[in-house]
């Protein structure tokens, strides 16, 4: 199964639409609830990050028998230092993002914690593509 969602810069109203939709689909597929929580938390963090930092982008979700692959690709400033960005507490988030309850520097670490594979490809001034894989337990 393949699903695609758009990411719109600064649109916090829609941030979470993809995660919510994926959650409903996984429930219908009788995926183990603990796996569902890990998947949607990781995807939600990625959505929030993309809305907060990027100029726009796309989310591609592929679900097959034993795994889900989530690709969040944005056009944006890129991540200057991935090692630093993976450090808990490091954040470059704006005041607006903080007012929404985020921007504490937990996003990327939380994506890593909740996925089986996390790959980050980034280019300054071009964008970032985050690929997250979770193996499913039915």
């Amino acid at each position: 199964m393949h699903y695609t969602f758009d990411i719109e810069k600064g649109n916090f109203t829609n941030a979470g639409n993809a995660s919510g939709s994926v959650k409903k689909t996984l429930k219908q597929l009788n995926v183990d609830p603990s796996s569902i929580k890990r998947i949607v938390v990781a995807l939600y963090e990625a959505e929030i990050n993309a809305v907060a930092h990027a100029y726009g982008g796309k989310i591609d979700i592929d679900i097959d028998g034993d795994k889900i692959v989530m690709v969040v690709a944005d056009q944006g400033p890129g991540i200057p230092n991935i090692e630093l960005a993976m450090t808990e507490g490091y954040s470059t988030a704006s005041q607006k993002v903080r007012e929404m309850g985020f921007g504490a520097g937990m996003g990327l670490p939380n994506m890593k914690k909740n996925t089986d594979k996390l790959d980050i490809q980034t280019e300054l001034g071009v964008g970032t593509t985050i690929t997250m894989t979770v193996f499913l337990k039915n």
Binding site: G16, S19, G20, K23, V41, Y44, F102, A104, G105
Partner: protein, 113 residues
Amino acid sequence: MKAKEIAELLNGRIVGCQDNNEELTNAFSSDLMSDVLRLGGKCSLLITGLCNIQTIRTAEMAEINTIILARGKTADEEMVEHAIDNDITIIETEYSIFKVSGLLYTHGINPMY
């Protein structure tokens, strides 16, 4: 405790999902949604003063059944609709997070850690 009992204890008002009969056993207090998303294990109640659509979204993703909006915050229409769509109960109360947490703790609601 049930959501209706908690609403009475907090002199609060229930909005969002009205037919919530789940036994609520533990709670987490935070205005930082990033910390809520890091919780391991099942959490029944989120006590917060953060009042926007992402509060509801966070509860949705973290499988939290009931949100207590403290400090007199009130959910807007979009928040209530999203809560109903996802079977999430919202309890609005004038009490502070400290008071809500203390009252629930003394009535047997456990902390997450």
